[in-house]
């Protein structure tokens, strides 16, 4: 039991992203309202963004800007760069792009939802389906 707990705590970032992902998936599958589904989709995408951000993080490391390098405090005499002291910026940069993608997806999805609302005057999936079968 203690083993399991330490196992979970040691890798809490992975557990967190899996929980968020499942919440998102649940909302996308189960919810009846299209906007709620969209919110679920956003949670789902955010969980993956958090996953990427967390894998770039290192304990005790700093942001990768050379001004903060060790030994730079005294007039910049010695500029010693040790890669181990910096977090890896690449996953974070990737996620900037992924955020743009997810925002664009959200925008397209909202536009589609607006069109559906204009056509059916509702965003509840069962009501839309009822109207489709009645025709």
């Amino acid at each position: 039991m203690v083993d399991l707990l330490t196992h979970i705590v040691a890798k809490y970032n992975y557990w967190l992203y899996i929980i968020l992902m499942m919440i998102g998936l649940y909302a996308m599958i189960v919810k009846n309202n299209l906007v709620k589904k969209l919110v679920g989709m956003n949670i789902f995408q955010t969980s993956i963004i958090l996953f990427f951000v967390s894998i770039g993080y290192k304990k005790g490391a700093t942001i990768p800007i050379i001004e903060n390098a060790h030994g730079n405090g005294h007039g910049g005499k010695q500029l010693l760069i040790r890669a181990a002291d910096y977090i890896n910026p690449l996953p974070h940069v990737l996620m900037l792009t992924a955020i743009v993608v997810s925002v664009a997806t959200f925008g397209v999805a909202l536009a589609l939802a607006v069109k559906i609302y204009q056509r059916y005057q509702t965003l509840e999936e069962d009501e839309i389906r009822m109207r489709l079968t009645r025709k």
């Binding site: 996308m28 789902f44 993956i48 993608v101 999805a109 536009a111 589609l112 939802a113 559906i116 489709l132």
Partner: protein, 498 residues
């Protein structure tokens, strides 16, 4: 070898898309020529790439001069050059064929349509040309997003709804792929495909790599609509505008199959896929189910568009099965089927577009007697149907032949049986329609008729692309041996099959 063709390939349609969206406000008549010009440049670049890459060469293009693995690299070998050429040809022909239809159906927004269409094609080119895993994700999403927008322009009742459903499922697929890339990145610290392939072999036993592989494959399978994950496809393709379904149906799924083959060959390596993992038998069973389920569901449809959509679901099973049989014949068949299926599906959807231009709908009752009014269109339909069934002089036969041989060699007899059975079902499907269109008298429900109430043939600008594709169905069939020897076999020679 450093050539600018890869950059030109992507930039030409991209710039044309920007110009189109500007022209949609300023001077709308210029939109179509701009789009045509952009895609013509892409076609030339694609031809140039195929000639330059040759049978076993590789063209590398470093974006912004950053060399891999740090920069993003475009990497084009014989397989990607082949797929790029198919995309360029189909996108250009469809643009020419759909001009009148777009003018008629989207008077107020055809500028936007052309801009989004060009972006969609840009995304497809990028997915095929890129050598970077994350770049692939971004381009995949560009393709998908524009695809959702294009599909939503269709049927006013169901277009946006089916597009939104496609979007939900597409996002899940793309996110799974991104997650897989994340695990690969954790393990290797690289995103460049070739670099990842170099770093992977010592890590083959790792469970993180297994997770990465499974997530990548699941994501791609969702995007390509492999059988149990296909639910989004029929509605999306049915309710899209004809000009859109003609380009999305032949290209989107085929490009996804290409991505799957690329991941298996270049990133994970065949040794990992077939030696380390014991998945191939399961996947071939899945593909067998897809072939059968697609064919049976197609049999249950009473609308031509729905029927074709389920035929695509069935064809996806062919390619996935062929690629996972794990022998050279299987890969040859799968790659050849990418080419053939793109052409066959394109021909089918061109016919569909022509019919929709003149008829009110394409449920089976509407097709009665269409042979009389539209002989050329229906001749194209017969030829495409024969090719889907797999009758010898047409190209569909040859890839099916390779797939059957591969199935026998691998001992996957259920797959062979499914291929034969689905061919029989396709024969039923197509001859049923030929009977309705040829022998039954035209019903009262026919739509756009001419002066004397007769059904008219589609305009020449729509018939010429159909004619060209129909000829290519035969030509690719006759020269299938040359395609295999000239492009596919040298490509497969680069990757030793375990």
């Amino acid at each position: 070898m450093n050539s600018v063709a890869p950059a030109l390939l992507i930039l030409a349609p991209f710039l044309a898309a920007l110009l189109c969206s500007a022209f949609s406000w300023l001077e709308r008549r210029l939109c179509f020529p701009t789009a045509l010009l952009g895609l013509c440049v892409s076609l030339l670049a694609a031809l140039d790439l195929l000639l330059q890459a040759g049978p076993a060469g590789v063209i590398q293009y470093k974006m912004g001069g950053w060399s891999p693995p740090f920069g993003i690299e475009y990497r084009i070998d014989a397989l990607s050059a082949l797929v790029i050429l198919i995309i360029a040809c189909i996108a250009l022909l469809n643009l020419a064929a759909s001009h009148r239809q777009v003018l008629r159906d989207m008077q107020d927004r055809f500028g936007t349509f052309y801009a989004v269409y060009l972006l969609f094609v840009t995304g497809l080119f990028g997915v095929t040309a890129t050598g970077d895993l994350f770049n692939l994700y971004v381009l995949l999403e560009i393709t998908s997003l524009t695809g959702y927008a294009l599909i939503a322009m269709g049927d006013g009742d169901r277009g946006p709804l089916s597009s939104l459903n496609y979007l939900f499922i597409g996002v899940i697929g793309a996110s799974f792929y991104l997650l897989g890339v994340g695990y690969l990145y954790i393990m290797t610290g690289s995103l460049n495909m070739v670099d990842v392939a170099r770093l992977l072999p010592p890590l083959y036993g790792s469970s993180a790599i297994l997770v990465a592989f499974v997530f990548c494959m699941l994501g791609i399978w969702i995007k390509m609509a492999l059988f149990p994950l296909h639910v989004w496809l029929p509605n999306a393709y049915t309710y899209a505008p004809a000009a859109v379904s003609r380009v999305i149906a032949p290209l989107m799924t085929k490009v996804m199959v290409y991505v799957m083959i690329r991941l298996m060959f270049t990133v994970f390596g065949l040794e990992y896929v077939f030696e380390q993992l014991d998945l191939s038998r399961t996947v071939v069973w899945l593909a067998t189910l897809a072939v059968l389920a697609g064919a049976v569901m197609a049999l249950a449809q009473r609308d031509l568009r729905k029927m074709f959509s389920y035929v695509i679901v069935s064809e996806i099973g062919y390619m996935v099965g062929g690629a996972w049989l794990g022998n050279e014949l299987g890969f040859t068949g799968a790659v050849l089927h990418i080419l053939n299926d793109a052409l066959m599906t394109f021909a089918l959807f061109l016919v569909l577009g022509n019919l929709l231009f003149r008829l009110r709908g394409v449920s089976f009752e509407d097709l009665r007697g269409s042979f009389v009014g539209m002989p050329w269109t229906m001749a194209g339909f017969v030829l495409a149907g024969l090719s889907i069934i797999g009758v010898p002089p047409t190209c569909g036969f040859f890839s099916k032949w390779y797939l059957i041989l591969a199935g026998l060699e691998a001992g996957a007899y259920q797959f062979v049986a499914a291929l034969v059975l689905s061919s029989l079902i396709c024969a039923v499907l197509f001859f049923r329609i030929i009977e309705i269109a040829f022998f039954e008298a035209p019903g009262p429900s026919s739509g756009d008729t001419g002066q004397n109430g007769q059904l008219r043939e589609a305009p020449v600008s729509m018939l010429i692309p159909l004619g060209l594709v129909s000829i290519s169905l035969l030509a690719v069939g006759v020269y299938a041996g040359s395609v295999v020897r000239g492009v596919i076999a040298p490509f497969l020679g680069l990757y030793p099959i375990p």
